[in-house]
Symmetry: C2
Subunit: 151 residues, 2 copies
């Protein structure tokens, strides 16, 4: 095998979209060991837990908007958590279409156990960057998110 030498070359390992995708998969795999194997949560479920744990009485719609998940994905994740007794809900009196969500006692317990572990993993990843790099990296993420309308 031999390298070609065309005009504009595209080397996949240096191509930012490829790198981002590969990095996101690796980080996600790294993290999912916690919430999947240890707590039996899938990504959408973990995102619901994280959202409801922080913003009590939020609705499925809010979860979908803040995590950018499709409403069917959110609906199924919530249903699974309700079945497992981790999340509870009841129609809101002022508008019975909405169903404010909150963690049950058991859900809160799981959340309280989960969050420090997730934050630890995030830190364990970021230790490979200097403090300055970490700031710069997060700033870049913010700019890109803003640029892409994700913020």
């Amino acid at each position: 095998m031999s390298a070609s030498n065309g005009r504009a070359t595209l080397h996949l390992p240096e191509f930012v979209p490829f790198r981002l995708n590969r990095l996101a998969v690796a980080v996600s795999d790294h993290l999912s060991a916690i919430y999947r194997e240890r707590f039996g949560l899938q990504i959408p479920e973990w995102r619901v837990m994280a959202t409801v744990g922080l913003v009590r009485d939020c609705t499925a719609r809010y979860v979908g908007e803040s995590t950018r998940m499709h409403k069917t994905r959110v609906s199924r994740a919530i249903a699974a958590l309700v079945r497992r007794g981790l999340v509870e809900r009841a129609p809101r009196a002022s508008d019975k279409r909405e169903m404010p969500l909150r963690l049950t006692r058991m859900g809160r317990r799981m959340y309280t156990a989960l969050v420090p572990l997730a934050l630890e993993r995030e830190q364990a990843l970021l230790v490979c960057l200097t403090t300055a790099q970490r700031h710069a990296f997060q700033q870049c993420l913010g700019r890109l998110e803003e640029f892409l309308g994700l913020a």
Copy 2:
């Protein structure tokens, strides 16, 4: 709905693994408009094209290793490209298990059209960063890749 104020809080929109995943999806969607709608390529196929276009006579195994795709995913992508007449292959004389890959004339034409568009998209994304930020960002990606054993 109301914010809780526990000890260590995890705000998903600030949680790096979540941000990376969301960003990667958005960038990928942004890019796939090119190779999917315009050239009828799926991500694995596009990765094979990009690899073979640069490293002539590489094998499926090489593609899998350099793009971190499973061999079945690579195999199917190559098969699709061969069917479409974009890639050709023949067993290597010295070891008939291996099948060096190369772009056909048509494949090369597509590659030559595709690469500048992909690079343009990458640049169009990175313009939201200053030159210094861009360097810092790529450096951080490199450190993280190294740290995770992706490099």
